[in-house]
């Protein structure tokens, strides 16, 4: 089963993330890769560098970032695991690092299952 874990930040202290945190994130990523669970991951640049394409009232609207939401998405990770709990465990480890190494940081990780072959009946 594949899970997409998105990390969103709601509050963080000014300044760049501590070096310790970045190092711990690297280490955890390596661990998850070596245990065969992590297929892909990347940090995301601020939405001020992105854009949004939406349909509203039948019109297609393109607007540049930043997006107005309070929560900014800052990274994603794609896991291949056997159970949802395994994905939750990896996500927990990831957010725990933020709690322990960047006091004042608050945020959330969503653990979302990707549809796989079993979810679709093959075409008749």
């Amino acid at each position: 089963m594949r899970y997409l874990v998105t990390l969103k930040v709601t509050a963080q202290p000014d300044g760049p993330p501590p070096a310790d945190l970045m190092e711990a994130i690297m280490k955890l990523g390596q661990e998850a890769t070596e245990s065969g669970a992590l297929l892909d991951t990347s940090g995301l640049a601020p939405s001020s560098e992105g854009a949004r394409v939406e349909i509203s009232g039948g019109r297609l609207i393109v607007s540049d970032g930043p997006f107005a939401e309070a929560k900014e998405m800052i990274s994603y990770a794609l896991y291949e695991v056997r159970t949802k709990e395994e994905a939750v465990e990896w996500a927990s480890r990831f957010v725990r690092l933020h709690r322990d190494l960047w006091p004042g940081w608050e945020g959330e990780a969503d653990v979302l299952r990707l549809f796989g072959p079993a979810d679709f009946a093959p075409p008749a």
């Binding site: 070596e34 794609l78 395994e86 072959p117 079993a118 009946a121 093959p122």
Partner: protein
Amino acid sequence: MTRADSHRAVEAVWRIESARVIATLARMVGDVGLAEELAQDALVAALEEWPRKGVPDNPGAWLTMTARHRAIDQFRRRDTYQRKLQQIGRDMELRQESAAAELDDALDDHIGDDLLRLIFTACHPELPVEGRLALTLRLLGGLSTAEIARAFLAPEPTVGQRISRAKRTLADKKIPIELPPPAELPARLASVLEVIYLIFNEGYAASSGDDWARPSLCQEAMRLGRVLAGLMPAEPEVHGLLALMEIQASRIPARTAPDGTPILLPDQDRSRWDRLLVRRGLAGLHRAEQLGTLGPYGLQAAIAACHARARTPQATDWARIAALYRLLSHLTPSPVVELNRAVAVGMAHGAERGLEIADALLDSRALRDYAHLPAVRGDLLARLGRADEAAAEFRRAAELTRNARERELFLRRAAGLD
């Protein structure tokens, strides 16, 4: 959290951590069976304690420490016993100290090496193949005996026996838990790769089934392949095998019709192939090619990659596939590889040339009852307009195959030629 929830949370941690915990313990106690028992004891302790106190921040270390305490208890008991037996207190004290130092040392970051040692031990050539498969899934995959039995469609006691017999063999033959010496590495690595690929194929053969347990063997084999690729990043065949499995697995969504009928490669809806796996497989193959000459797994991955790269069946680079089969035939001569080469040559250079290669296999004892020989010949003969001979070949293939779905397929082809 309900009790069932927390139980599942502990299990998730176990699946993530068990191989490393067992690997560390195996190094400490020098016995795979004992290491696994100690780790299991730690799991039982976790199932009691974590639902009450919460999952510790570093659950892997908790499991290892708990198991380690039990190991020390065992050592002490054994030492006490020996002291009574031999009446040499001083010797015991020394040994206990060195055992403690050894245990501390074991908790340092030798985890990668420990895991690798455990993999090589579980896949030791002294063990029968079923023993290697079951032990690998148990020790490295963290699967229970019941799960392994379900995956292999075998009774649970049978699998339990395979595992305990394999552990006993390792102990009886005093097989050390160590990395193979350089001279033995190629053969020992081949045994590891064989075990992983057998696990994969066991799942792949059943990936149309309703039971998740068997197809999930493909996932487990790929996971083991990824673990091994992380531990032995310089071995081209490790990347080759992983690439082969990923590219083959990418076709799982496309290879069966709703009624269970297999869909052959040329007829598959390629938009249903798993693109993430294709991409990973092609990248892994590239890495294998950069690391050295491709071995048997790398070559098979390269062949699978030719199909993966083709957007339509017509775009398949059959000449390259034929050349790769020729290389594979040199490396691992086998009539089945030759038969595959006949197909590729038939596509690349005409049915006549393919038929020559297939005809040369008619005397092969190994292929005497192999349904695919007449099936391939039937296909080539049909393309040459020799419809009667082709129909006869398909009927022969239908007689030989033990797979009902395949039989239907062959009979349909025969009927279409009459």
